[in-house]
C-alpha cells in the first residue's frame, strides 16, 4: 500500500469527485423537492423491482453456487496470499471475526420484526397458524442465510485473492485485472470504483437509517421522547458527531474497543434472551428451521411470485428483492472486511467459513428473537404483530417488555444500536475512503470525516425524503448496477484462479531436489577425476 503523502486530503480525483458530486446532487435534489420525493422513491423502487426482480433472484443464486463451485473445485486448495502465506489469525479468532461481520444493526432491527411481519402477511397465502410460522421463519432464513453470504464471499474472495496473491491495491477495481489489465488504472477502473462507492454509501446509509429509527423508538419507549423524523435527524447528527470525533481524536483503539464490546454485549443479549425466553422452544425451532431451510432451499430462493394472486403480488419487491439489493450494495463493505482478515486461508476454507459461520449465528439470532416473538404472539394474539404493523422499529422493545428487566434490556438494546452505528460509520468511512483514495489504507483523517458526515447526511436525507421506502429504494437503486459488476467479478476471479492453478502445479518437490542434487554431485565428481587425469 502506498503511503499517504498529503496531510489533509489525498484523493484519487477521478473516483472521489464524480462520487462526491453525485451524492451532493442527490442530497440537494431530495431536500429541494421535499415531500413529493417519497412518491418518486416509491415509483423507482416499484419500477426496478417489477422489471428486474427475476434478474436479481437468479443472479443471487448464481453468486452462491459459483462460490460453492469454486470452493469445492480444484481451485479450493489455492492459498490466499501465495503458497507460503500463513494465516494472520487463529481459526478461533477468524471465526469470531466472521461472526462479528454477521452482526450489525440489521439483525437487531429485523430480528423480531421480520418473522412477525411474514407471519401476519404471509408471502404464500396460508390459513394455518403453524404453517404460517414455519413459512415466516423460512423466508427470514432465506433473506439472512447463505445467499447473503454468497454475495459477500464472492466479493471478499476476489478482493483477498487479488490483494494478497497478486499484490494489487485493496480496491474493487483490482478485481478486474484479468479482464482489463493495466486499464484498471484508467477510466474503466474509475467507473467501477465510483459504482462501488455509491453502492457502499447508500447500503450503509440504509443500515444507519434503520438504526436511528430503532434508537428513536427505543428512546420514545424509555424516556417518552417523541418518535418523529426530527428526533431521528437530531440523533443522526449526534451519533455521526460522536463517530467523527472518535476518528478525529485518532482513537482507532477506541473504535476497536467499541466493536469488541459490541460483539460481547450482543452475545450476552442473545444468551439472556435464550435463557429468559422460551428456551426449549427456541432450541426446538432452531433445529427445525434449519431443516426447513434446506428442504425448501430451491423452492423459496427461486420463487418469483410468478403464480401469486394479484392481492399478494408485490410482497417480494419490498422484501426479498430489497434484501438482495441491499446485500449487493454493501458487499464492498463486508467483502473488504472479510478479505482483510482472511489472508493465508485456502479458498475452500474461506468459502466454507464465510458461508457457514455467520449464517449459523444469524440463524440462531433470528430464531431466538424472531421465534420468541412468534411464541409470545401465539400466546397473546396481536400483542407484537400490532406494533410491528404500526412501527417496525418498536418490535424489539415490545418483545423485551414481555420478559424480566425490561428497562435494562431495552436500554442495552438502544446502546447496542448506537454503538453499532458508530462502529459501522467509522469502518464504513474507512472502506469508502480507501476506495476513493486509490486503495490506500492510511489516507488522511480529513477524508474520513468527510465520508462519515456524508453517510450521516445521506441517511438523514433519505429519512426526510420518505422514511423506510426511501431507504429501501436507495439500496435497490445502487444494488442493481453493482450486480453487473459482480457478474463480471465472477468471470474475472475464475480467470485469476485458473492462472494461479497453472502456476502451482507441483509434485513432491523435496524428493525431486534430492535426486537432482545426487545427479549434480556425480557430475561434479566425474569432472574432478577427469581433470586430474
Amino acid at each position: 500500500m502506498a503511503k499517504a503523502k498529503k496531510k489533509y486530503f489525498d484523493v484519487h480525483g477521478p473516483v472521489f469527485w464524480p462520487a462526491s458530486v453525485l451524492i451532493v446532487v442527490f442530497i440537494a435534489t431530495t431536500l429541494i423537492v421535499g415531500e413529493p420525493m417519497e412518491r418518486v422513491f416509491g415509483n423507482i423502487q416499484d419500477g426496478i423491482s417489477n422489471y428486474t426482480g427475476w434478474f436479481l433472484v437468479i443472479a443471487v443464486n448464481v453468486f452462491l453456487f459459483f462460490c460453492i463451485f469454486v470452493g469445492f473445485s480444484k481451485f479450493g486448495s489455492i492459498k490466499l496470499g501465495g503458497e507460503n502465506a500463513e494465516p494472520e489469525f487463529t481459526k478461533g479468532a477468524w471465526f469470531a471475526m466472521l461472526f462479528s461481520a454477521g452482526m450489525g444493526i440489521g439483525v437487531i432491527f429485523w430480528g423480531v420484526a421480520e418473522p412477525m411481519y411474514h407471519f401476519t402477511h404471509p408471502p404464500i397465502p396460508q390459513e394455518d397458524e403453524v404453517l404460517r410460522m414455519e413459512q415466516a421463519m423460512n423466508f427470514t432464513f432465506l433473506h439472512w442465510g447463505m445467499h447473503a453470504w454468497g454475495i459477500y464471499a464472492l466479493v471478499g474472495l476476489s478482493l483477498a485473492y487479488f490483494t494478497f496473491s497478486r499484490k494489487l491495491p485493496l480496491t474493487i477495481r483490482s478485481v478486474f485485472y484479468p479482464i482489463l489489465k493495466e486499464k484498471i488504472y484508467g477510466w474503466p477502473g474509475d467507473i467501477i470504483d465510483v459504482l462501488a462507492v455509491l453502492a457502499t454509501l447508500f447500503g450503509l446509509a440504509t443500515s444507519l437509517g434503520f438504526g436511528v429509527q430503532q434508537v428513536s423508538s427505543g428512546l420514545n419507549y424509555l424516556l417518552g421522547w417523541p418518535d418523529s423524523t426530527l428526533t431521528q435527524i437530531l440523533l443522526i447528527l449526534g451519533i455521526t458527531l460522536i463517530a467523527t470525533t472518535s476518528v478525529v481524536l485518532g482513537i482507532n483503539k477506541g473504535v476497536k474497543f467499541l466493536s469488541e464490546l459490541n460483539i460481547r454485549v450482543a452475545g450476552l443479549f442473545l444468551i439472556f434472551m435464550l435463557i429468559v425466553g422460551p428456551t426449549l422452544f427456541i432450541f426446538d425451532s432452531f433445529i427445525q428451521n434449519i431443516g426447513d431451510y434446506f428442504q425448501k432451499f430451491f423452492e423459496v430462493s427461486f420463487w418469483t411470485e410468478a403464480y401469486s394472486r394479484s392481492e399478494t403480488v408485490g410482497w417480494q419487491n419490498s422484501w426479498t428483492l430489497f434484501y438482495w439489493a441491499w446485500w449487493i450494495s454493501w458487499s464492498p463493505f463486508v467483502g473488504m472486511f472479510i478479505a482483510r482478515v482472511s489472508k493465508g486461508r485456502t479458498v475452500r476454507e474461506f468459502v466454507m467459513g464465510v458461508l457457514l459461520v455467520p449464517t449459523l449465528l444469524t440463524f440462531l439470532w433470528m430464531t431466538t428473537f424472531g421465534g420468541s416473538g412468534l411464541w409470545v404472539e401465539i400466546n397473546n394474539p396481536g400483542l407484537i404483530s400490532e406494533s410491528v404493523i404500526d412501527n417496525v422499529s418498536t418490535s424489539l422493545f415490545v418483545l423485551l417488555k414481555q420478559f424480566p428487566l425490561t428497562t435494562i434490556t431495552s436500554a442495552i438494546g438502544v446502546v447496542l444500536v448506537i454503538n453499532f452505528f458508530v462502529t459501522s460509520s467509522d469502518s464504513g468511512s474507512l472502506v469508502i475512503d480507501s476506495i476513493t483514495a486509490g486503495g490506500k489504507l492510511d489516507a488522511p483523517v480529513g477524508q474520513r470525516i468527510f465520508w462519515a458526515l456524508t453517510e450521516g447526511g445521506v441517511a438523514a436525507v433519505l429519512l426526510v425524503g420518505g422514511g423506510l421506502t426511501a431507504l429501501q429504494t436507495a439500496a435497490i437503486t445502487t444494488g442493481l448496477p453493482f450486480t453487473f459488476v459482480l457478474i463480471l467479478m465472477m468471470y474475472s476471479l475464475l480467470k485469476g484462479l485458473q492462472k494461479e492453478h497453472a502456476m502451482n502445479i507441483k509434485s513432491e518437490k523435496e524428493a525431486d531436489v534430492e535426486k537432482y542434487s545426487e545427479r549434480v554431485k556425480q557430475i561434479a565428481e566425474k569432472r574432478k577425476t577427469k581433470e586430474k587425469v
Binding site: A502, S507, K509, D512, S517, R519, V520, A524, K528
Partner: protein
Amino acid sequence: MAKLLVFLDLTPMDSSLMENVKRITNEMSIEKIGFCHYVEIQEVTDNVNSYFKDLDAPLDEILRDEITETAEQFGFLPDNFEVLIHIRGGKDSLTDWVNNSEYDLCIFGKKVIHVGTGVFSGRLCRLVEKPILFVTESTLISMDRVLVPTEFSHYSKKVVNLINGLKDFKPKDITALHVYHVPPAYFPFISEQSDDLIEKAKAHARKKMDHFVEKSFPNRHVQRELIYAGENTTAKVIFDYAVTHHMDLVIMGVKGKTDDDNILIGSVSENLIKRDKNIPVLLVK
C-alpha cells in the same frame, strides 16, 4: 531457419534427447541450438554454489563443461550451439527469459514431464509461449508422416501457420484428423435415432474439414480423416490413430475450442503429451 532451445535435465535421457535433436538438424536447416539447463536447487537455497561442498569450480561452470562435452560427442559444432545454465531467479525468470528470447521452438523430453523434474517442466511447458516439441526418449524422431488433429478452432490456424511457415519443414504426408462427437444436448433422443445423428454430425464435420484443408493447404494433398469418438476420449482416438497409422509426429494447438485461457493446456493436448503416449508431439501455442 529455426532456432531450437533444448531443455536438458542431466539424466541419462539427455543423450537420447540430443540424438533426436541431431536428427532434426539433419532434416531441417537449424540456425542455432541452445542447450538449456535449469538448476533446480535454486528453489531451496539462495546460494547455489555453497549448497554443494568442495566444488573446485563454480557449479554453472562445471555443468556448462559437462553439457558442452556431451554435445560435442554427439557431433554438434561448438559454433552452432550455446549452453545456458539457469542458476538463479526461479521458474518465473526462466519463463520470462524464454518468452523474450530469440529461440522459436522449445524441445522437451517426454519422460521428464511426470518423473524426475516433473515439477519444473510440467509447469514450464504451461507458461512458455513458444511452440514446444515433446520428443520421446525411447524412439527416434522423424518428420515424414505428420498428423494434425483439428477442431477447426483458431489454434488450428496457428498450427497451419507453423507448418507452412517453417522453410525446411517438408513432411511427405500430412493427415488432418477430426474427431467428432454427437452433441450431448441430444442426449435424451440419442438412443432412438443415433445413426441418423452421427451421419448428420459427420456430414457437418466433412464440410468443415474440406473447408479447413482447402483453405489451409491449397497446393498440396492432405489426407482427410473423420472419426466418430463414440465412447472414447478424443485424446485416445488421436493416439490410437497415430500409432496404427505409423505417424511420426503429432502437431496440434495447445487447446481446442472449449476455453480461451491460454495459460492452461487443453485436456486433449495434456493427455497426448503424457509420457505413456509414446509419440512425439509438437504443441503450438
